[in-house]
Symmetry: C2
Subunit: 635 residues, 2 copies
């Protein structure tokens, strides 16, 4: 049962696709705090809070404050209040009852869930305008399903996108891409795609391909396609300012770029240097930008990732000028230390500066909005531009699309990856924990960079991360410039990487079918134990095991040097300890606590009673998986 | 059995106090890698590596690379190779045998423990000069004891330093300090000391007290002393350049400051603005600086913490000039993005810049050394300056002293705190894990900032952290300027903070006696389970439980929203679940795995068979604890 309430004058986000009549009564559960832009809910000691999509910390969100303000911040430490996403749906559940709430506002909003006051949940609005959807249901899963019912079906990628993808910032040319594919094939490690990061472009211009690095891109795409390898280029939000560059010139001519208050196009700097930002909120601009993907579709490309769309801003032209002026004032002075830090902070703070987000405007649904008021819709509408275009340009063929920034609604047009994480064990755990909240908010095709993007990976971390990553729909190994190379074939224990990767391919029939079920029926592919066992107090304590689909539970190892882990079983299950798809031992374990051994090359999968896990014979490409010859492990 | 070997021409560090004849033979276990400044040891799969003092990651150091280069870096994320300390002692143990090694060199050295190659341990030297001590023994604890035997007895603080200390950057004046004490007393939460961070000084000048903020400091110290409160001021490494300031003028006159190559005193900037660094490695300068502590001792002060002694450098005068020049080159240019990042990195990279550490020199044992060659001795010798002075100035009274930067040898003159950690759950775990390696290296009086220094704490984190912190000799709550206030009385559940703090005071007789035993007999106060149970494979897996002294084991809860945790008992034990010193339930648990409930206000203590835990009746000050009336919980 979903009810809609209104606070102030909300800006429409198009995230809800079902027409729901507005209630005249006041919002239930939460009270408006007099004199403040705040809602307040007094939590019971037993209340758990789930949801909010891609955020830091655990599955139960109690005890911290999360701010929806899409942010390009690669340091996902536990004190961060904002990551790339704004996914304002949560469920409060305790003592056998609860409710869900979707706070639909494109502006900045904070969820203070016992941070300020341990047992109080405050929702703090920058502008007190929002559509509030309150969802009642008999269980957490019911509430999630109800919510998913109003936001429209989740994006479905092509099936090959369930294969493994190798990425790097950046494979610099044809030969480097070939080398990657050759090495995977030579080592008999399955792979379906190679990602092209920003350097494939000509001077970082969207919808161009460097003819130095990829002299005959069409032929190269074709060559790869013959090997059943999909190339997945990145698309950035900023359009390079360069005379003669068609995207730039068309955008200027048609007024498709975001403007400053004085009517000039905002000049920001991102990878290409100075850029304009397409006004993705403007329907005409969105259509225009979406059609640009055709350039790459025509090369034979059938997958993309949209990046830098919070939008990330390294600096704006105006702000940089101001900073240079101020630096002059500091120079020569006997800087006191606070002034020195001001100066350092000023230079360091040029990027993604709040002030810059107040320097430009959007034309949205016939009105002009300052960017910060609709900030969280930017990445969403960039991906919507692509998704709507694909429906026109490629109606019969699914195109892979996922985005860094997101807002609920975007889940209909693409998936997400969890952005620029790090090669940290704690980020492997974060990856595990984020999947459930992403699913609640409709983002089913999702995953994090396996092995971590920033910082240097170790072999054991990469292996353990792969052992979890094989269960996420998006299974991609990606890493940053300057960090240790982390393609699976670069380490000592190639055999284990091969076995783990092949296990993924053996699991694809199960994963794809469960994925489709989650999309079609508004279910969650990844579920915390307590969602399935609301009566089991212990199930609420478990933040590192997940149900994956209807038949299995996983318990990944995410600690360095660990040779096993504790597992809680809320019901009797059959443990399969996989070393490879056809080398595993099985053991029936009873409901309760267990310490389970898991060597570095072993994956723990638990099959539910009365269920079966189909296992295909792995192939080097998803296309070659024989769906008609599956083996079943049953319990 | 300790044997000494020589690599190249080592610089003497005075960390080993026993004269050991040098072996003529080659170093055992490790091989010299031809053509490189590296030693290599091929690890067995079962080898564990322990030690290295204050570093990131777990108790078993396998799987990462750690660099001894004392660093002022407040972001102790798991990718960091260097923290504040250089403590180059480790033990390799597996299959019932092993050895210890102490790599005694003041320069930069890296311990690549399976990072580059999973099963290989490389020691990489910047300069291939070191005294290498190889320690054989029948057990890890034997080896540690042997090692501790050659480095001299660990520092012992006054007994009041086992009481609770409250700190903040900064309590700005008398009234703010009084307010803290009043609030602790009003809320009946025990406290023995209040820390004075940098703002107590007059313009951040060492050995001065601001007479605006503390108009009659002597009287104020006296007032506090009457309440049995010890004020503990900070001392920073840099001496402010200011005409008329005696420390500055004496240092210049006597050539006690570190010089550049051209013979001028190095000008660096730290909190006071421009400073010179005393050359603590110069014996005369060390004595001179040490004697300066008398200024504060004469006020009645009997405790200090030495900070910024890596040394931290915000910038050097020369480097800042160069950067301003370079910025001019960037200005006005149509900055390409890489140049922009260069510019940003240049400004951000002014602090603690490697190049700056090559810009100044020390006079050490009759020779001149460029700073980077002896970098890791700087903080050590600052604290040695104080410790040696206290022996002269206060021979009959123990003075509290601990330091941020350290090297083995410094453990004889003071303890350490684990530097500028954060209000992160992961740093509570790090605190737990660091204690054992610190103890191995002789640092027994130690602890981390309870609640975390940087970032904003939450009530539950502070409570859980206090529940562990009550076991660490240094039990101090400290937090940074700009972060949420975190004195124990500022939260909702004052009762639990009171109970936990009182439990500390009830434990002091046990902790102090076990501390003294650890010091006197070269034992470890904190021990990983496997040190006591080398034959128990499972004990090696446990990285979040510790033996504390001879009679108890603790299992802190370090996860948000957790109401219990898994515990492994290597032997039968008696669990005491403390809500307060006189409200706890007991239960005998058998050897093996257990899931143990621990509500937010409960502390898990396990008593070993045949042992007893004495519990005092808590007092508001350590001085008032009645050691003659103890209750005993026995098993």
């Amino acid at each position: 049962m979903v009810k809609k309430y209104r606070l102030g004058n909300p800006i429409e986000t198009d995230s809800v696709v079902v027409s729901i009549q507005e209630e005249k009564s006041t919002i239930p559960y939460f009270d408006i705090v007099q004199g403040k832009n705040e809602l307040r809910f007094d939590m019971d000691e037993n209340d758990h809070v789930f949801g909010l999509g891609e955020t830091v910390r655990g599955i139960n969100k109690r005890g911290y404050i999360f701010t929806s303000k899409c942010a390009d911040d690669p340091n996902h430490t536990e004190d961060k209040r904002s990551l790339y996403a704004a996914q304002n749906f949560f469920v409060i559940w305790g003592n056998g009852k609860g409710f869900g709430m979707y706070v639909d506002t494109p502006g900045c909003v904070s969820f203070d869930i016992g941070y300020t006051d341990t047992n109080v949940f405050f929702i703090e609005f920058e502008d007190f305008d929002a559509n509030i959807y309150v969802i009642d249901g008999a269980s957490i899963l019911d509430i999630v399903k109800e919510f998913r019912g109003i936001i429209g079906k989740s994006y479905i990628p092509p099936r090959w996108a369930f294969g493994f993808g190798q990425s790097r910032w950046s494979y610099m040319n044809e030969d480097q891409v070939r080398e990657v594919v050759d090495n995977y094939d030579k080592n008999d490690i399955p792979i379906d795609s190679v990602y092209l990061d920003i350097d494939y472009m000509e001077r970082y211009k969207d919808f161009t391909v460097s003819d130095e690095r990829f002299p005959d891109f069409k032929a190269f795409v074709e060559e790869m396609k013959k090997r059943n390898i999909h190339l997945v280029p990145i698309i950035d939000a900023g359009v390079k300012i360069e005379e003669g560059y068609d995207v730039y010139e068309e955008g200027v001519k048609n007024d498709y770029f975001c403007k400053k208050e004085n009517g000039e196009n905002l000049v920001a700097a991102v990878w290409p240097g100075k850029v304009h930002f397409p006004d993705f909120l403007n329907e005409d601009a969105r259509k225009w930008f979406g059609d640009k993907y055709k350039v790459l579709l025509d090369y034979g490309i059938d997958g993309f990732w949209n990046d830098m769309n919070e939008p990330a801003i390294f600096y704006t032209e105006d702000h940089l000028k101001e900073v240079f002026e101020k630096i002059k004032e500091y120079e020569g002075k006997n800087l006191d230390i606070r002034s020195f830090f001001d100066m350092q902070g000023m230079v360091g703070g040029l990027a993604n500066n709040d002030e810059d987000y107040r320097r430009f405007y959007h034309e949205y649904k016939g009105k002009r909005y300052r960017h910060d008021k609709v900030h969280n819709l930017f990445g969403y509408n960039m991906t919507r531009a692509a998704g709507e275009a694909f429906e026109r340009l490629s109606p019969d063929k699914r195109i892979l699309m996922f985005s860094r920034s997101s807002y609920i609604g975007m889940h209909r047009y693409g998936g997400v990856w969890c952005g620029d994480n790090k090669s940290w064990w704690s980020h492997l755990l974060l990856n595990i924990q984020q999947m459930t909240a992403l699913n609640m908010c409709g983002f089913i095709y999702s995953g994090a960079d396996v092995g971590g993007f920033g910082a240097d990976v170790t072999e054991d971390l990469l292996l353990r991360w792969a052992e979890f990553g094989i269960f996420t729909p998006l299974f991609r190994n990606h890493s940053a410039e300057g960090t240790r190379r982390q393609e699976f074939y670069r380490f000592t224990d190639t055999e284990s990487f091969r076995n783990i990767s092949k296990l993924r391919y053996a699991l694809i029939p199960y994963l794809y079918s469960e994925f489709m079920n989650a999309v079609d029926n508004d279910e969650m592919l990844f579920r915390p134990l307590c969602f399935d066992h609301p009566e089991d107090d212990m199930a609420y304590e478990v933040e590192d095991q997940l149900y994956v689909g209807s038949s299995i539970m996983i318990a990944p190892v995410y600690k360095q040097n660990a040779n096993g882990r504790y597992v809680y079983l809320p019901e009797d299950m059959k443990l399969c300890r996989f070393r490879s798809y056809n080398d595993y031992d099985v053991e029936v374990l009873g409901k309760g606590h267990h310490y389970v051994k898991a060597a570095l090359n072993e994956v723990l999968v638990f099959i539910k009673k009365g269920h079966e896990l189909p296992l295909a014979t792995p192939a080097s490409r998803t296309e070659d998986i024989d769906y008609n010859n599956l083996n079943y492990e049953r319990f």
